[in-house]
């Protein structure tokens, strides 16, 4: 089943532990600048927005890659980067509308979120569940239930079901 990392920015506290553990998982060092996930913090609005690769069905990065180093695996739902093919032209970085492709300036290679081989560290450490690793088929059910609960509350059948 295809999976995705579901983001609920209203639950993000901006602690950025996801960035740290991502960098440790992938590089062995604490360095948020080498993390695949990035929290954008609007400190005077009190908002923290997690940003990461959305693993598009029709990824711009895959389309522009001249050496076919990027490909989407429909089994896992993950866009994978084959570093042995990558020539570091950074076209993917230019093309991605979400800034999800990054360049690791220490290892001098492209990096992107690849779900930590099916067990994303960021999700594991996200205490508030602002990040969840879910089946794509069920991903929107949570929001549907939330809407349902609001209706339930509106007609006075339940309190605090959210």
């Amino acid at each position: 089943m295809e999976k995705m990392i579901l983001v609920d920015y209203t639950k993000c506290t901006g602690c950025r532990l996801c960035e740290t553990v991502c960098s440790v998982m992938n590089t062995g060092a604490c360095n948020p600048e080498r993390s695949r996930i990035k929290i954008i913090r609007w400190e005077w609005e009190g908002l923290q927005i997690p940003t990461l690769c959305l693993q598009c069905d029709e990824p711009a990065c895959v389309t522009v890659c001249p050496v076919k180093a990027l490909s989407r695996n429909s089994g896992s739902g993950c866009v994978k980067l084959n570093l042995s093919l990558c020539i570091g032209c950074k076209l993917c970085m230019q093309a991605c509308p979400f800034g999800a492709m990054s360049y690791d300036f220490i290892k001098k290679e492209m990096i992107k979120c690849e779900f930590c081989d099916g067990d994303p560290a960021c999700v594991k450490f996200c205490e508030t569940q602002a990040l969840q690793f879910v089946d794509v088929s069920n991903a929107s059910l949570r929001k549907k239930r939330s809407l349902g609960a609001q209706v339930l509350m509106a007609i006075g059948k339940s309190e605090g079901a959210l």
Partner: protein
């Protein structure tokens, strides 16, 4: 490597910068953070220098694990010779500044001399520039970071800066970063002001490489789970440190009107429930899963649109202790104190004292510049007095001098002034009761930075833990009755040394044994240090580091200010005036002078200090502190 972070020595007079590595020996003796910071302060401050002169230094110290995935490893210390106490100045803050300093390649900055014109430091990836800050002088602590980010064209730059209070050398001025975080106590912002240092901007892309990444990651998850399984973490996640206020208030453990009473008539406007209408969310410091930072917004009235993070329980008890009866007053006070860069705890203490002088007719409107300092006016007075303090105008010129300055200035009106300005070593007391718990009293009396809870407070003393648990924790008998003096010297000493270790490591104290015996302590620290840095310590070695750091701070206090036993005191009011209200166990409580002195003797003995509280030669030798320059100088 995490251990490759450097020390930078920045001389603002000579416009020189050099860097030094942190030696293995320095790590073994002082670990990092507050520990290495204390060593640097002790060695770089010119003995007996004027704290506002160029001979003082400002030392900024991130912990050995700051910036790593050790839970809540966000802390960074600001220190020097305190303009408030004339002794050891030291205060730390969370947020993101400390980790960014590490990513920029530095663990400690030693800022010496003084600049003739306003400057700021630009610290990035192993390099440091001293830059002009003329255009920043006069800007508040909220505007300054954004101006710097704009001019350096990087939104991820973290800035610690001073506000108007620091520029004007208000003694209680602090260093701040972002909406929330302040290294609040002991006046390090005032030191920066005297050096014409407006801000420190940091940005880094460097690795903190882990010795054992896989194990470190697994262990971090285990400790996070351990932390989040405690009740206190769950409560803090929802209500921040303010979760304690309702309990302490209803028990009679909060002081109001300068400690005259421990009961507030109009308390309903200050509860955590009353805060709900302002709360917009909770945020976390770097790598913190507890996220105890409130976010708030004032939606209507004169302050509509004001957004901020916090405040803490400590500020709630401080600003809420002299007549304010609603959250809006507290939030506005907190907002303004942050904007100007003033320590809310110390400032509130001093204002309370001056208001009592007014209540007793010791000072009148001539002294207050026409202000009516009646307790009933607190809601209106807080914003006025904060602005006056930051600008050193009117009564603010007196408040700006801190507890010792106020006593000096106002004692001409009555010899009793000293009785009413509650302080220890010049640093103002907190708004909570510490005269019914001998351990709390001993803690503030002996704290190396003056009256403060984060140096040694054994919050566990209120938990009534079984005595065998206490014995196991402290290595000797400690009474489980918070009113008892038995074993409390041992308890306080254990906590002060333990908190010194936490401060060397750089994690948040609230995720340690401070709040619960089930939160991380030595066992966990030994493991983090091993997995993250590769350094192997025993629990005992870490405890000894804490002792070394605490003793060195003590030596500094004697060298600089001559502090001895006579200064390890508590405000006289805590001895002479029994509590009037509260639960049966609390009502009537006060400190017994004789028993306190006996406890102090025990405390010195456990430390290996003499009757005057000065380290004995054999203690210095045991702690390898005889290698530091002597602390007993010719007077």
């Amino acid at each position: 490597m995490t251990l490759k972070s450097k020390i930078a020595i920045i001389d603002l007079t000579k416009n020189e910068i050099r860097t030094e590595p942190i030696s293995e020996k320095m790590r073994r003796l002082y670990l990092g953070g507050r520990g290495i910071g204390a060593h640097l302060i002790y060695n770089h401050v010119e003995p007996r220098t004027d704290p506002l002169g160029p001979g003082n230094v400002l030392v900024i110290s991130a912990g050995i694990l700051t910036g790593t995935m050790a839970p809540a490893a966000s802390r960074v210390h600001f220190g020097g010779k305190s303009p408030v106490t004339n002794g050891f100045g030291s205060s730390n803050m969370g947020g993101y500044f400390g980790p960014e300093l590490k990513f920029a390649g530095f663990e400690h900055l030693v800022i010496k001399g003084a600049s003739p014109k306003p400057v700021y430091l630009w610290v990035h990836d192993g390099e440091i520039e001293i830059r002009d800050a003329s255009h920043l002088w006069g800007k508040d602590t909220f505007e300054t970071p954004q101006i710097i980010r704009d001019e350096l064209e990087d939104e991820e730059i973290k800035v610690a800066c001073i506000g108007l209070a620091g520029e004007n050398q208000v003694r209680l001025a602090n260093f701040r970063t972002g909406p929330k975080d302040s290294a609040g106590r002991t006046g390090t912002g005032c030191i920066a002001g005297s050096k014409k240092l407006k801000a420190i901007a940091v940005r880094g892309h460097q690795d903190l490489k882990l010795a054992h990444p896989k194990e470190a990651l697994q262990y971090a998850k285990k400790v996070v789970d351990q932390i989040m399984s405690t009740k206190v973490a769950k409560a803090m996640s929802v209500d921040g440190t303010s979760f304690i206020w309702n309990v302490t208030n209803t028990s009679g453990l909060l002081e109001f009107y300068n400690g005259q009473v421990n009961k507030l008539e109009n308390w309903r406007g200050l509860t955590i429930e009353a805060f709900e209408k302002y709360k917009t969310g909770m945020a976390g410091c770097f790598n913190c899963t507890v996220h105890c930072r409130h976010q708030f917004r004032i939606n209507d009235g004169a302050w509509a649109g004001t957004f901020g993070e916090g405040p803490e329980y400590n500020t709630q008890t401080a600003l809420g202790s002299f007549g304010a009866d609603n959250w809006e007053t507290l939030l506005v006070g907190w907002h303004l104190a942050n904007k100007y860069g003033i320590d809310t705890t110390g400032w509130s203490n001093d204002v309370r004292g001056v208001m009592e002088l007014y209540q007793r007719g010791i000072i009148d409107k001539e002294v207050t510049g026409g202000l009516d300092l009646s307790w009933d006016n607190a809601n209106q007075l807080i914003p006025i007095l904060l602005e006056q303090t930051a600008k050193k105008e009117g009564l603010g010129a007196i408040l700006a001098e801190g507890s010792l300055g106020i006593i000096r200035e106002l004692s001409k009106y009555s010899k009793d002034v000293e009785y009413y300005i509650l302080h220890v070593k010049g640093l103002g007391k907190l708004g909570n009761v510490d005269r019914v718990q001998p351990s709390f009293a001993l803690g503030i009396a002996t704290s190396t930075r003056g009256a403060d809870h984060l140096r040694s407070r054994p919050a566990l003393d209120h938990y009534h833990l079984p005595e065998d648990v206490l014995k196991k924790l402290y290595g000797g008998y400690v009474s489980s009755d918070f009113r008892s003096y038995e074993g409390k010297a041992r308890m306080v000493r254990w906590h002060e040394l333990t908190y010194a270790v936490v401060d060397c490591i750089g994690t948040c104290k609230f995720q340690t044994v401070f709040f619960s015996p089930n939160l991380p302590a030595y066992k966990e620290w030994v493991n983090y240090l091993k997995y993250i840095t590769g350094l192997e310590f025993t629990e005992e070695e870490l405890f000894n580091i804490g002792e070394r750091v605490y003793t060195l701070e003590r030596m500094f206090n004697y060298r600089e200010a001559g502090y001895t036993r006579k200064d390890d005191r508590i405000p006289e009011r805590c001895i002479r005036e029994p509590l009037k209200y509260g639960l049966p166990a609390i009502k009537g409580g006060h400190i017994d002078r004789k028993k306190f002195n006996k406890m102090l003797d025990e405390y010195y003995e456990l430390h290996g200090w003499d009757k005057e509280g000065l380290p004995l030669p054999e203690t210095l030798k045991r702690l390898e502190l005889d290698e530091e320059p002597p602390y007993k100088l010719e007077r």
